[in-house]
């Protein structure tokens, strides 16, 4: 039986109170939202915070404002709330799809948007119980000094496994980070870095309080996720695509993001730029898919064969772009989810 380690429990009622706690405790305190990532990690002793600071008693973190001119999403909105709300359609469809594909219905009732954005990176050599990790002498990410995926690497290769980050990056989202001394807005494309240990640039004394989106009028978006089962599993490849189309179907702006193939979600810049000024026809989609797939360099530390994950990247980009141009993709979706989704 795996028990949680002992911890001090704090339950602030306001953001101000929360950031004061983070400031006083330093990295030894961790914010607790849905707990679906942090508590399993604590049971396996991957993360052992001295103090847990619940975010569930801070009303402003649960607020959302959806409007044509832009949206603000509180970090503690649950993934169920996002998946179920018809306000998250059209421009924001990719976010609703990403939220609806996370884990299981019960977990989506608990897990939050902010938690999924801060999700710990994952690796077959890290996401194991204490005894398993001890038996291999631990690994670079926690308690050891060898990366078992790439033993000559001085850098941890754990994989970014968040579903909502690629979707929100494709939508051009920013996040608000608040600390005792002030606050800053960071584009989501600049929040992450290519290091499995220091994968997020949120400082330990900062709280991610909300996600900000500019107007998405005229935009369409889609999210595609590869996993073994139609439920439960983290992504082992994901593609988010968003495009603003003219009345004649010509792409005016586009963003393609490839997730779960590195320590951070990767923006496929060349592929995104190639789309601009062109209609989304078969030839354009094929060119963009080939360009986007080039940046995916998966390693052998998740489910499925890494060469196959690399190979199907172009196909997933193709699915996403075909969906953007209005094709009926329900058949392909059904193969991946095994139940027809309302999204």
């Amino acid at each position: 039986m795996m028990r949680l380690p002992l911890f001090e429990f704090r339950a602030p009622q306001t953001v101000l109170e929360a950031v004061r706690i983070l400031d006083g405790e330093g990295p030894k305190a961790m914010p607790l939202a849905g707990g679906t990532d942090l508590l399993p990690n604590m049971k396996r002793r991957q993360q052992v915070p001295k103090a847990l600071m619940s975010l569930n008693h801070i009303p402003e973190l649960h607020q959302k404002t959806l409007s044509d001119s832009g949206s603000r999403l509180g970090a503690c909105l649950t993934l169920s709330e996002i998946a179920a709300d018809a306000g998250f359609r059209n421009g924001m469809t990719a976010l609703a799809q990403a939220a609806s594909f996370v884990a299981t219905p019960q977990i989506r009732n608990m897990a939050t948007l902010g938690g999924n954005l801060c999700l710990d990176t994952r690796c077959n050599y890290y996401d194991q119980n204490y005894e398993w990790r001890k038996a291999i002498g631990f690994c670079l990410k926690k308690d050891g000094d060898t990366c078992w995926v790439a033993p000559s690497s001085s850098k941890c290769m754990a994989v970014s496994s968040t579903d909502t980050a690629p979707a929100l990056m494709a939508l051009g989202a920013r996040v608000r980070l608040v600390s005792r001394l002030g606050e800053r807005e960071v584009p989501l494309t600049e929040l992450y870095q290519n290091d499995g240990i220091h994968y997020i640039k949120r400082r330990p004394n900062e709280l991610l309080t909300e996600v900000l989106l500019d107007s998405l009028r005229g935009w369409k978006s889609a999210y595609w996720k590869l996993r073994r089962r139609g439920s439960f599993d983290f992504p082992v490849l994901s593609v988010a695509a968003a495009a603003k189309l003219s009345g004649t179907g010509v792409v005016e702006a586009a963003r393609i993001v490839v997730g779960s193939v590195a320590c951070l979600p990767l923006v496929a810049r060349e592929a995104s730029e190639l789309l601009v000024g062109r209609p989304l026809n078969q030839g354009t989609i094929a060119e963009a898919a080939a360009l986007a797939a080039r940046i995916a360099k998966p390693l052998d530390n998740t489910d499925f064969d890494m060469t196959w994950r690399k190979r199907v990247t172009a196909e997933f980009v193709t699915y996403a772009l075909r969906e953007l141009r209005g094709e009926d993709m329900r058949g392909e979706r059904l193969l991946l989810t095994r139940h027809s989704s309302s999204l």
Partner: protein, 165 residues
């Protein structure tokens, strides 16, 4: 590590207000089973990967192995023990027994409460909606078909009862 029972909460368990003292690191699952003797909710993977420990928290299915008991103060928890009323099984329980939807039975409590939440929110779900609602509950015995059929049978029985009333 039987730490001191230094934490205390009051919450509603299956319609009754209860006070419980427990070790503060415990999950809702551990408090239900170990401190309140409600062993109907099952202890599965402990990591959110099986659904055996599902309970309804304020009417919504959640995994009790990943909820801190400390976070349940003032809230409403429904476990499989709270499904029957007036000495009669819930129509879902009847249907599960009649149609062989429980074999070893270990996943059944989590599936029953999850299915109850589905029928409360959507009295006439399609087969696909049932599949999706139960997609977080693993069952290694039945192959799921009998479970889906039992939820559909219960759905019809509940609708009939409503028409009679």
């Amino acid at each position: 590590m039987e730490a001191e029972r230094t934490a205390q909460i009051r919450f509603t368990l299956n319609g009754e207000e209860v006070d419980v003292f427990f070790a503060p690191y415990k999950t809702l699952l551990e408090v239900l089973r170990e401190d309140l003797g409600h062993t109907g909710t099952k202890h599965g993977c402990e990591l959110g990967e099986c659904g055996a420990c599902a309970v309804l928290l304020d009417g919504k299915p959640v995994l009790s192995c990943l909820v801190l008991a400390l976070e349940c103060s003032g809230r409403e928890v429904l476990t499989v023990e709270g499904l029957s009323a007036d000495g009669r099984l819930h129509p879902l329980q009847d249907a599960f027994a009649d149609l062989g939807a429980a074999q070893c039975g270990y996943c059944t409590p989590g599936i029953l409460v999850t299915a109850k939440a589905l029928l409360d929110a959507n009295p006439h779900p399609t087969r696909d909606q049932i599949r999706e609602a139960l997609s977080g509950n693993l069952c290694r015995c039945t192959g799921y078909l009998q479970i889906f059929e039992a939820v559909e049978a219960a759905m019809i029985k509940i609708a009939e009862k409503k028409t009679e009333a």
